[in-house]
Point group: C2
Chain length 382, copies 2
């Protein structure tokens, strides 16, 4: 096994926020963190990684909670495990079995619900070309359902990069006393977020998608009201030995293992705190890039305009036309980009593309734009 | 955050099998795998990491299944998530809610059961000083329970390093048609294992504990009979969009994310295959070490004799005596060892110690033994 894309510019929109800073990578290797993939456990006293004080995982989790405007945070096996913990808490504390989620949710939201026996109903989005989710539609859906066990909204969605009206929806949920989860997998770590402003009870995060960390790692953050339930300690007792596991949190598999991904996130966190301040600058850069790409010809950004997230989804009839007569068919686009040192377009697709230039330098952005221009000018090769 | 134990000899018995070979660490860093912690996803076509062919994750999982004598394998977020997947499958396919597990199980077995609403009952062990689990006691417990939903046995346990009679128990389960899981977290990857010989329906593994990998990573392996249930595909449908997630496996969170830990395991696997052949040699080295340590004075190995696993649990009245008058009390032992470049004894304990010399060179073993000898000769310092 060898990595095929070393030194390529990555434009996969779900990866850009997850790029690990070079000096963090170097530290992980040179300081010896990779020798044993969970060596923060050397000084574990209490039997749960989130309680470890050397290194300061416990204080790091407080810092994470505070940074996102919450009261208590735990690390998880990715955002999917964070969502699972929330859904499980809801399933065990509610008689209702229907939750409302947005029509642009990541599949992991739906799978987490399925794992916990919850049924997902969706408000509609606004359809082509913006696919927006409106608070009003969520309110209507709540009325229709009666009392959903949970409202789960994807802050910025992975299809179009639309930013949902999470504050307005939070206000509704708060008024109606419906538990409310915001999945910030694509925003937490790139833009400023405060879950209190959202009126959210639960915030879920992906460290390897948006917090510059090795995967798999996520976080679930909650308020004091829900923390006792979400982070409930084990109550089981093995019958003959009488063993109990009082420090373990079943919703998090007992302990979510403070392994290399967590170390990477601790090392990356100072960068995260700094970079969210550049969000407006990133959005301006993204806007200019959208204009430049659309100027190439028959290419149009989908999703809301103005665009408020770095994930870009273009409809690209221009590339679709080329693919029709190209010997590599739909594969030509991703392959031509790779030939130019740029990886991240979904292989086989040329009618639609998703990408991001988040965190790229001006020079790198120019390389990406130039590559698209060259490919747009390709003559069919047969 | 910085790693405090670089270049120390690690004797933590749950870590020795997880040490990542130096050249694998180097490759992870130098080849660029650490740039994005889940960059095997660049060439994901089907939407689940276990189906990726570039790099060959799919064929790797077949190789893993075959190596352990099973039919189908999936990677998981550690052995705890593997056990959870099994327990969930059992809970959904059985009307019984009681499972039998051994009294020396790792807590993650009990927590996985608790997560799935299963109650754990235990056969007794043989008590001090061997703490052995006998097949006969398991049979008696089965008779008492009537029809357990599952029998879950820890192959080598994390308390005493006893190897349970998993073949005999498997024979009983097979005859009585009771689903049978063997947790090989401490054996799979260090000693030869064939789950068919155990008559096991499920084998769970920890890559970061015994397969020389970065954490968190585990595997769950099963036979054809159970694979359709254990690896059942998603059946949910989001109501308005009509989205379905047909390639996703809910018991594994949809997709268990082929991230850096998985890459490390693929790179380490050739070492694993080689090293299990040295198991008898390792056992001989361990036996000699036990003799040498017991020769220091009032120190005795607990668990079965002859010992058949690298995890060693000693009762150490000798160190306990020293701790009584040492200014660092029970902490002196771990600290004195660290001062000699050896990390892995549980901090604060001196009455009992757990350690392993698995995979250490003769020279390193000598350093460990000499360090214990020096510490045994310490005069109380106040």
């Amino acid at each position: 096994v060898s990595y095929r894309y070393k030194d390529h510019i990555i434009i996969n929109p779900l990866m850009r926020g997850g790029i690990v800073p070079k000096d963090v990578q170097k530290k992980l290797f040179e300081e010896g963190w990779t020798e044993v993939g969970y060596n923060v456990c050397h000084d574990c006293i209490e039997g749960r990684s989130s309680l470890i004080t050397k290194p300061g995982i416990r204080s790091f989790l407080s810092e994470v909670a505070e940074f996102y405007g919450g009261d208590e945070a735990e690390h998880t096996f990715g955002c999917r495990a964070a969502q699972f913990a929330v859904m499980k808490t809801i399933a065990e504390n509610s008689e209702e079995k229907v939750i409302i989620s947005d029509p642009n949710s990541h599949y992991s939201t739906n799978i987490a619900a399925e794992m916990c026996g919850l049924e997902v109903v969706e408000p509609p989005h606004s359809g082509y070309p913006e696919y927006k989710v409106e608070a009003e539609k969520v309110a209507e859906k709540i009325e229709e359902v009666g009392r959903p066990a949970l409202v789960a909204m994807t802050h910025a969605d992975p299809y179009y990069g639309n930013v949902a009206p999470v504050k307005e929806i939070g206000k509704i949920c708060s008024e109606e006393e419906i538990p409310y989860m915001v999945n910030a997998a694509y925003t937490g770590g790139v833009m400023p977020i405060n879950m209190k402003e959202f009126n959210a009870d639960f915030l879920t995060l992906s460290a390897h998608k948006s917090m510059a960390s090795i995967g798999p790692l996520g976080f679930v953050i909650t308020n004091y009201e829900w923390s006792k339930k979400l982070f409930a300690l084990s109550k089981s007792k093995a019958d003959w030995t009488g063993r109990v596991f009082g420090k373990k949190i079943p919703n998090l598999f007992g302990c979510s293992i403070g392994a290399l991904p967590l170390v990477s996130c601790i090392l990356s966190f100072p960068y995260i705190k700094e970079r969210v301040k550049n969000w407006e600058k990133e959005m301006k850069k993204t806007e200019e890039f959208v204009d430049a790409l659309e100027d190439l010809g028959d290419i149009m950004l989908l999703g809301e305009r103005p665009h408020r997230h770095h994930l870009l989804h273009f409809e690209t009839p221009l590339f679709w036309e080329i693919s029709k007569t190209h010997k590599r068919k739909g594969f030509f686009l991703a392959e031509e980009m790779i030939a130019r040192g740029i990886v991240g377009l979904h292989k086989g697709l040329s009618k639609h593309i998703k990408l991001s230039i988040y965190g790229l330098s001006d020079e790198e952005v120019k390389r990406v734009r130039d590559a698209f221009e060259e490919v747009a000018n390709l003559k069919p090769s047969n």
